[in-house]
Amino acid sequence: MTVARPFAAVCGAALAVAVAFLALPVVAVFADAPPRELVSSLGDAAALDALRLSFECSALALVAVIAIGTPAAWLLATRRFPGRALVVTIVELPLVMPPAVAGIGLLAALGPAGLLGGITGRHLVLQTAGVVVALAFVSAPFYLRLAQAGFAAIDPALLEASRTLGAGEGRTFARVAIPAARGALGAGAALAWGRALGEFGATLMFAGSFRGVTQTAPLAIYERFSTDLPAALALSAVLIAVSAGLLLAVKLATRDAVG
């Protein structure tokens, strides 16, 4: 007890510092955004275009990431195969990549002069589809990593029971593994969505910035920063509020997880 008390105090203090540090910029945005600006920013057509584009593109990217990432993560979590460590590293790489590097990489791969330029042409660069591609690229690792960890943490006995009861691999995956890893999948989806909503650098380099087509909310905020700080703050506040709402909703929807 005498040992535990000071330790608990240290942990408590560390948590307080962490929370204060992480919350301060958020609080400051709301404190500095004049309430009148907050309301009028919702009447700013360009800002609304940017918010709409951000949510549409990030939602599309998330759907693609979940559809492809869930079975991929299942394989990574349940199979040992040669080169698996390399595959895991490749999947994690975008996490540590500066967004500018991601943007250059996407241009070099999918730009008109890129590796696959013969196929992609100008169908992705500076197009809304390109925004979705950029968002999927930077956000996919968050989902894959958490989904893999979630699947790996399932009690093997549970999966074994499903198989002995006659369920095939596909059925076990859909009916047992996904519900069991629901919490991790939800957390991964929330993180990936958050990352996609905040994406800036890769979007700018690969998709550019054009109102209604490729200018997402972060790009609109950056543009406003130089000319209209109150509007930039207001749009930031709206983005924070809606993002927080989305994250919370995803967490609540997947809260009663088994794993």
């Binding site: 540590v96 241009l107 100008r122 500076l126 910035s209 109102r211 130089s226």
Partner: protein, 237 residues
């Protein structure tokens, strides 16, 4: 284990961004990257001049602000945030195209299907572009505007999009094309359309090294700095 590895790697990458020397901090227009980097002698932060000015207004304190126009430093001077700005170079707005591009003159930009990148209206290069387009006949201006695919926050983004073939043409400075060492070609604008592009630098008030900052600004007008600017495609102020 791999999970913790990637987390610690992220932290390492972030930590690498710190780095603290006591040298002069210079916030400079993106178009100054090539000559200033060659010049060395300070820690440079390159971005759209409007972003750098907004940072100074928000309380960021570099020692020197070097902008791609006179408007932004003059406005900061009027508000007492910088010392009197000094014009130190001129540049020229041009149309950057790929070396083998069929685009020869500004009228070619009005053809359907030509993709164009410009600076956003807030960054000097974008404002110069707007001023230029405004001098064109209305139908031609509208046709060119319809071909704009991206309005980038700084000129570096415009150059990159032309260089990568994402667009056919971009409004940039002559010095930006020089910096590509032949990868891009500059299509000059008719003299009547060319805006005055003057670069101004100013010492930021409250600089911890005002002497060194003033010396830096003075040095831009001659010697090695002026030579580097000329070589990079800038003209005398």
């Amino acid at each position: 284990m791999p999970r913790y590895f990637s987390v610690s790697l992220t932290l390492l990458v972030l930590a690498g961004c710190g780095g603290g020397a006591t040298s002069l901090k210079v916030s400079a227009a993106a178009s100054l990257q090539s000559p200033f980097t060659q010049l060395g002698g300070a820690r440079y932060s390159f971005a759209g001049s409007d972003q750098l000015a907004a940072q100074i207004r928000a309380g960021a304190q570099p020692d020197v602000f070097a902008a791609a126009n006179a408007k932004l430093p003059d406005a900061l001077y009027a508000d007492g945030l910088v010392e009197r700005p000094v014009a130190f170079a001129r540049n020229e707005l041009v149309i950057a195209v790929a070396r083998d591009s069929p685009i020869r003159r500004i009228a070619d930009l009005a053809r359907p299907g030509v993709a164009i990148a410009t600076g956003s209206a807030t960054v000097p290069v974008g404002a110069y572009t707007q001023a230029t387009l405004a001098r064109l006949p209305e139908a031609q201006r509208a046709a060119i505007e319809r071909n704009v695919r991206s309005r980038d926050p700084d000129v570096a983004g415009v150059v990159g999009k032309v260089a990568e073939g994402a667009v056919d043409a971009g409004f940039v400075y002559r010095s930006d094309v020089v910096a590509t060492r032949g990868r891009l070609r500059a299509v000059r604008l008719p003299a009547a359309l060319r805006p005055q592009v003057v670069y101004e630098a100013a010492v930021v008030r409250g600089s911890k090294h005002p002497g060194a900052a003033r010396a830096f600004v003075r040095a831009l007008l001659g010697g090695r700095a002026a030579a580097a600017l000329r070589q990079a495609g800038f003209a005398k102020p």
